[in-house]
Amino acid sequence: MIRVENISKRHEGRMVLKDVSMDIAEGANIGLIGPGGGGKSLILKIICGLVTPDSGNVFIDDIDVHSLGPTELADLRFRIGMLFQNYALFDFMNCADNIAFPLRQEGTHSEEEIAEAVHQALHDISLPDIGHLYPNELSGGMKKRVSFARAVIRRPPIVFYDDPTAGLDPVTSSKIFILLRKIQTELGVTSVTISHDIGGIKEICDRFVLLDQGKIIFEGDRDEIEASEIPIVKKFWHGFSDDELNV
């Protein structure tokens, strides 16, 4: 259970998050949507303890994330996987070492076990032969899949996906969403997915939160968001705009 309580955050003089609260139940798959710059990525980073809020609290299983010291925070992060928007693959390691890194950090696995887990992970993302390649030798879609493999190699109970299909073609996006659905079905993870791909996010999430200008505008399940009469929700969910473009 993740509880976000009254989070506010100012960044470079601008209020990015304004008194945001939400609950994420165990096993829930939340779709976090909304216009760019609305604070979606920031809220994920605050939940993980990567960014400290100006006010408010985040609890993961009743543990106050921002009261933890570096060691306790590291222990907590063993239970969280994160797929970053810009892949965030370590460019000085090959793909196999990137995927193996979280397991090596745990320090409880033998090299044979790690090699086996990496082999299986590469097979799961349908890239069995790229272990020796470095991130700069991969396409965007391949990087996303390797990053995904690294995020879930420890089989964490909580996974955050920050725009997993950003900049990818529709076929690769579809493959990524199939992977996400597979991991949710197999592991029963609690997940939060940020995406602008409404078609894809509909398939993998059961609840949706729309964040705009640092505030939660809408929170509800698929039927509720389909039926919502809030203009920005309608615009965003159905993908239309009545604003005039000054071209």
Binding site: L50, A74, G81, N86, L89, F90, D91, P102
Partner: protein, 278 residues
Amino acid sequence: MSDQPLQSDENGETSAFRRLLSSLGEPVLEVAQTIKGIFQVFGLTWYYMLKGRPRWKATVEQLHEVGNRSVLFITVTLGFLGMILIYQAGYQAERITGDLQMLGGLFLQLLLREFAPTITAMMIATRVATGMAAQIGSMVVTEQVDALRMCAAQPVDYLVVPRFIATTIMMVVLSIFAVLVAYSAGAMTAYFSFGLNVRTFVDMSFIGWFDVLLGLSKALAYGMAIPIVACHAGLNVFGGSEGVGRATTNAVVNASLAVVFLDFVISGLGYVILGLVT
């Protein structure tokens, strides 16, 4: 800086005094923040060095990066410096006294106490500190540092400790190497320019334990300061590639300032201690 706007006076205008205070206060706070941050990174580095898992592979890679790849640079700069200093000193000495017998001995003392560690540190600050800041800064911008944290690795432990150990060791090694290069270049210059015999030039009679200890202390201090300042600049990058550029500039400026400041402090302390023991 406070997010509150400056208060206006009765006429609705911000007083010149307040504006002056603000313009003075902002850079002062920035410097104080930077110094505090540098000491935090320094403390954490020692903590993870003593408590963390040793990273031999990364440390050996950094030893190669800082040490081996700086050898040519140090050879060229210190070699030319040795030649120039001896030529200038010899020219002046010949004009004034005509006696060059003490040239080698005094030059060696100067090298050990000052030039070898300090000039080497300046060169390392230029070549290595910029590289460290740019590399770590790029990792921050591309979220690799966040990814390290999410994999339960501490950035200071993983990125700073190997660089700190490698630079501290290599600063001492390169300073000794710099003495040899500059002194050899000086000896050749003295021979070819003034006909001074190498046996006469190589004179250890001026060298005592104080000179060696002072030089080594400086090399050690610079070796610790440079990676900490550089890594702090890298870890505090914000604002994309522009931020990385800013961080590299900050790294080389702050590392050079740290070297000059440490030089002043260690030299001062050294002479105070020398005065007490003699």
